[in-house]
Amino acid sequence: MMVTTRKKRSTTVSDAFNDDSTGKRAKRSGTSTKTTQAESVTIECDTTPMTSNDLHMHSRKLSEIRNWLSKPAPRGILSLIGPPGSGKSTAVRVLSHELKILTSEWLECDHEIEDDSFADFLHCRPSTRTGILLVRHLPQSTYNDLPKFHELLRSIPSSSSIIFCLPSTQSSWHLNPTRLFTPMICLDLGISQITTNPFATTFLTKAMKRVAGNNSDCRDAELTEIAKIADGDLRKALIILNLRLRFGKGNAYDKADSPISLFHAVGRIVYAKRAEKTSSSWKEAERLLNNERMRRPQPDFDVNLLVEESPYDSQKLISFVFEHSPRFTPMSSLHKVFDAISLSDSTLHVWNRRDVFDQYALQTVVRNSLFYNYQENAGESRCKYAFTNPLSDQLVKEMRKLVPENEVSMCWRKEYYTETVPMMSRMGILPPSMEYFSHNLGSFIWLKGLDQWKAQGSHQIVKTRVVEEEGHVEFDIVDTDDSDTDSF
């Protein structure tokens, strides 16, 4: 990979391209800079993937990138967007090396106040016709001035080949690359788009196995455990693996870091399990309640402990409760739980004082859910339930299958599905087919009665995630294997 460290004006970039001799600031393609490697601290350099065989990305995504790279120049613009640690940069590096394509990366210069150097960089023409420009960091000014950036994109000559390789950031809309590369802009300028997905657990495990080598004492089960904690992020997985190899199991990671405990937290809240024995002080307090039917036995766990020690963002926890509670809460009191969630969302979500009010929001939701989900003799009616990631993820996946390649359509938005989905799951049916659903968006769901729904659904394959087993009283939380994360 060729790297240009820019200290002065744009001349440096063009120099780097024209000057084939070994400039100090420009290295020839092939001697890779191992950016990814340097980050993962001490995993030895020779474990960096050097050939595409060593890449553990989903083969379809890999070939998508390869196809774009092996197009004859000029290739135009590619926006390669995906979560951090999903192998974007590494794939580009390895593939361009294999295809003998010269890449030139934009490295932010030190002083970029009112500087056109970024524009100059994008406008410059690689001397070898096949070379590509790679942008992994955008200058800050880009995020602040979108129209200017779009103007810049428009002005890029058609003869260029540029890859924008940017991490998607869920937590920050300001930095979100989808804000920069909107569907309209991409359609307008003919920008190709490839989105990488988080690594599936199986792929992560495979990649780690290669890095750990045969002589380590790391068992497969342990690698899977690490993969689960890393949650699809290979870079993170390697950091943890590295610690594991150096310090042994107990010192590398905590089981509490694993996302499964989020499911456990949600499980506790929605199952509303009560203790076998109710303490006398609890009974005494309950006796003060006038309405006898509303008295409850003591819960199985300490609510305050759960709320205060939850390492998760309260909004996230609440959104999980929101999505799963229709399955647990009796229909008659579902509105109470939703009421609490709605309140916590609207009133108790005071952004600038969230340290205080997050506690209120969580307390309200958890306690309401706990109280109203309680059913006497719940044992018989409660079934085994497999917790999933929010249902919307699944739907978005199915939905994408239906979208023809490269077709940009504004109505394929997650929000349409997430708003209706929780109620649909209560009915125990999913739409007959996603295609039907999306063509009749909006009108379809609510204008029809449940009867018609059922008639519609009965001759279709009805998919429910509830595994009912008669007489199975104990609750059991199974996290679904996300090994198909990458398989669509």
């Binding site: 010192n251 309640l289 020690e309 506690q359 306690r367």
Partner: protein, 326 residues
Amino acid sequence: MADLKNSETIPWVEKYRPMLLNDIVGNEHTIERLKHFAKHGNVPNLIISGPPGCGKTTSIWALARELLGKHVKEACLELNASDDRGIDVVRNKIKTFAQTRVTLPAGRHKMIILDEADSMTEGAQQALRKTMEGYSKTTRFALACNQSDKIIEPLQSRCAIVRYMKLSDAEMLLRLQEVAAMENVQYDDEGLVAILFTAQGDMRQALNNLQCTVSGYGYVNAENVYKVCDEPHPSMMEDMFVNCVKGKVREASETIHLLYRLGYSPEDIINTMFRVCKVCDKIPELLKLEFLREIGICHVRIVEGLSTLVQLSGLVAKMCMMNEAS
């Protein structure tokens, strides 16, 4: 009586701040991991998340001290929220530090500690990602924050995340007793319990409250602690809630009026209300959740500026009606 001169000059929080990882109270498992880092070097970039006062910054400094030894002065940089941490600072200050040459033993790196990293602007965090990559050979970052979710994902992906829990009452008590013994503080058990209640798992606050009580009154008992910390007494609150449950609106509002007349601000009153309500075991479950909800709504109003006695009285009246309405 404590040595007044001493207790007035140095805050006990600083005086008794543990210097070694071994001395840090609580979170044994996590500290154990940090000890391994200290022993073997080659620390990854770290994100340390946990509630305030659980020893995040203290343990990073202890780690840095054990890692860097005598070089710690020149090889460690701390920036906290009070420093200006815009993009330019990340660019310049951090870069300058990252570029300076310090001779360190193999496997040791310069360290940059960013306290309260979740309050950095997103742009600055983004710029940090670049710096982190660029200087990974010489410099390690340790980001302390209250919630790791508030750090942008690209940074999370590049760091090992270490989580801290709130200190348990037992762990806090242990340390408080140690400090009290070293300072010759006279106390009774009720007093220490009161300090634990006011601190809510925050070691920093616990020590501050202890020191304040000592320098103010000399003797640490519950009454003095609540006087110094200027918080309504929790037992008064508990009585008020019992009255609310029984629907005795007159008695319940009397408590609120009294507290208000004593000069407590409505925000103090409502804060204590929330804290007492969630742990009080004399409220039936249904009423407790309704109470918490109403307290929350009222608290929002107070924060928005409507901090009047009318709001508090309204809240109490509402709570008194709830048992009837159930």
